[in-house]
């Protein structure tokens, strides 16, 4: 290892090292300050990396290691297209109203069922999409019941981040990890879903202790909810049937993608293409314009910036430093990755964080097992807990603060717009303890499963 440290410190002498590092640090710092939009920063930073000769355009556009990860981009685009076609059918309104009625209009039951529905939906859809679909109905129902919507919005945002961590497609960090580490949909189901189910159960029990006693409504107000007819939500039953069929095919495709030898993005693209075709849409402009291009360009810019710091050796240096701290102890490294990821993601965007950590983990693997390469290195049995810890930490860590995850930022914005602003402190008061609880459960899980039982 000492040789590697020397090798790493040698890279430091190059001027391109400092240029790339400066771009990276500056872009990330400015992202934190939020004075300039993060997508603009990412695009400009990426352009600088190419213009200043850190990475070539060829690398930036076509290299899987140093450039844009099209697997991630196309998976996101495809899922966004599917949701954009499904949304006007009214299926999401239907599910939400049905859930509220299943809870008999009782406030804590609504909170619990909405949290579980949000978590399950987030596992299959993007968290932000899920929140944008559940929060408006929640606000309407709370208004009908004449109760404070804030606890509901907070618990849903937290549930969405928990649920999103469960699957490969649930959250962008997982999509990025899956692509970099070449992990399949079922690998996420085997490794993350079980612990997320435990986390979710513990979460619902905890919010019951916090909120159940405070929530009461008069019976006549509950009647307002019970009088809602969920069937009124369905606007286009034909398109709904087609959408559900395509969604089922797509999810089956995800389950089988390893066996079929297709990347997840291929499956998603097939689903998006099929639904576009079946929808009978004459002009796809609107559906395609609704794709969140701002987010996608943020990803593209980040990938190129990260490519730059990988190329000049900054990432390698980070990997060496982490291993120095943990002295190559893998369990220690895993725990640090889990908790550091959680704390980091509580305060910074977990997307740039994971974009940076992915190559760091790969470089750590290169340091630890210099003779192994390719998929054998990425899937080294001792490396696997690190990937899962990164996913769990980055996914659940977002719950720590109001700015930790996009879903949180969205509910804060919605709450403010409707005249019930949530303070940063108030969000953290609920979010931080619940985040620590969930990461503690994951700690026990990772330790037990990968270091004691070794399954």
């Amino acid at each position: 290892m000492t040789q590697e440290v020397v090798a790493a410190s040698q890279v430091v002498t190059g001027s391109s090292f400092w240029t790339a590092t400066a771009i990276f640090v500056l872009v990330y710092a400015l992202i934190v300050f939020e004075k300039i939009h993060k997508t603009i920063l990412a695009i400009f930073g990426a352009a600088l990396m190419i213009v200043l000769g850190i990475v070539t355009q060829e690398d930036a556009f076509n290299s899987r290691d140093l450039g844009i990860d099209w697997n991630v981009i196309f998976l996101l685009i495809s899922m966004m297209i599917i949701i954009n076609i499904m949304k006007p059918t009214g299926v999401f309104e239907y599910i939400a109203i049905k859930s509220a009625k299943a809870a008999k209009g009782k406030p804590f039951m609504i909170m619990a069922i909405f949290s579980v529905v949000t978590a399950v939906a987030s596992a299959l859809l993007d968290n932000v999409t899920t929140i944008l679909l559940i929060a408006p109905v929640t606000m309407l129902i709370c208004q009908a019941l004449e109760i404070d919507v804030v606890p509901f919005l907070i618990t849903e945002a937290l549930a969405s981040n928990i649920g999103g961590t469960a699957t490969l497609i649930g959250d962008p960090p997982n999509i990025m990890i899956a692509s970099k580490a070449q992990l399949g949909f079922m690998a996420f189901i085997y490794n993350l879903t079980p612990v997320i189910i435990v986390v979710l159960i513990a979460y619902v029990i905890t919010i019951k202790f916090i909120f159940a006693k405070k929530l009461h409504v008069r019976d006549e107000l509950r009647q307002r909810v019970m009088a809602m007819n969920e069937n009124d939500a369905i606007k286009d039953p034909v398109l709904l049937k087609k959408s559900l069929a395509v969604l089922a095919i797509t999810i089956t495709g995800f389950v089988l993608h390893g066996m079929l030898h297709f990347e997840p993005a291929t499956i998603a693209l097939f689903g998006a293409g099929l639904l576009l075709l079946l929808s009978g849409e004459k002009k796809p402009h609107y559906i395609l314009a609704q794709v969140e291009w701002t987010t996608l360009f943020f990803f593209m810019g980040l990938f190129i910036i990260i490519g730059g710091i990988v190329k000049v050796g900054l990432v390698k240096l980070m990997a060496v430093k982490v291993l120095e701290i943990t002295q190559g102890n893998l369990f220690g490294t895993t725990m640090i990755v889990l908790w550091f990821s959680a704390l980091a993601s509580a305060f910074i965007d977990n997307i740039p964080y994971v974009a940076t950590m992915n190559p760091v983990i790969i470089d750590m693997a290169k340091q630890l097992w210099p003779d192994v390469s390719g998929i054998h290195l990425l899937h080294h049995p001792d490396l696997m807990p690190l990937w899962w810890s990164l996913a769990l930490g980055a996914g659940l860590g977002g719950n720590g603060t109001a700015i930790g995850a996009s879903a949180n930022v969205i509910v804060m914005g919605m709450a403010e717009k409707t005249g019930n602003p949530i303070s940063f402190k108030k969000f953290m008061l609920y979010g931080m303890p619940l985040m620590i609880e969930s990461v503690a459960i994951c700690t026990a899980y990772v330790w037990l499963r990968y270091y004691v039982l070794k399954i």
């Binding site: 009214g90 999401f92 606000m139 309407l140 009908a144 919605m414 717009k417 409707t418």
Partner: protein, 176 residues
């Protein structure tokens, strides 16, 4: 024809700190032109009489409409009495909270085509007219532009009508 020839000179206006209750009352009673009572929008002027916004009937509707309903199709799940409850809450809110801040304006010397250009491109039915010092001097309404067009059309055909329709129209303009 210029904007100043067609505009209705400034009469009533709102201040940013007026309540919506005051605003709705003024919208109801304000005069447009000589005879018409009730307007669909009022300009909002600050203490130095600078135009800072415009408050329309649409903005009043938005004040009693929960913004989250824009995000999904929830109309079928609303209940009787919901608007009443929201209206009571909105009554004492300030005009500045709901006015449209980005006001499309024309100059008093703007040509009529320029005014139509602004109306069509921005989908507005009335446009504040400013003088050279950017002071608000009047409002130009779509309907008055329409009357002008009508007048021109009927004048072109006046060989047949002998100006009879034209007279009818001028009479109509004041009353309707």
């Amino acid at each position: 024809m210029k904007a100043k020839d067609l505009m209705i000179p400034l009469q009533e206006y709102l201040r940013p700190d007026n309540t919506l209750k005051e605003a709705t009352n003024l919208l109801r009673t304000a005069q447009r032109g000589e005879e018409k009572i009730g307007v669909k929008a009022l300009p909002v002027l600050d203490d130095s009489d600078k135009l800072v916004g415009i408050l329309s009937i649409g903005d009043i509707l938005k004040a009693v409409y929960p913004s989250y309903m824009y995000l999904m199709d929830l109309g079928a799940f609303t209940w009787d009495g919901m608007v009443e409850a929201f209206t009571r809450k909105a009554a004492d809110k300030k005009v500045e909270e709901f006015m449209t801040r980005k006001v499309i304006t024309v100059k008093e010397d703007s040509t009529l085509m320029d005014c139509i250009d602004q109306m069509l491109k921005n989908n507005i039915k009335r446009v504040p007219v400013l003088d050279k010092e950017n002071k608000l001097v009047g409002m130009l309404y779509e309907r008055d532009v329409f009357y002008t067009i009508t007048k021109i059309m009927l004048e072109e055909n006046s060989a047949n009508f002998q100006g009879e329709s034209l007279k009818f129209n001028e009479k109509d303009r004041g009353k309707k």
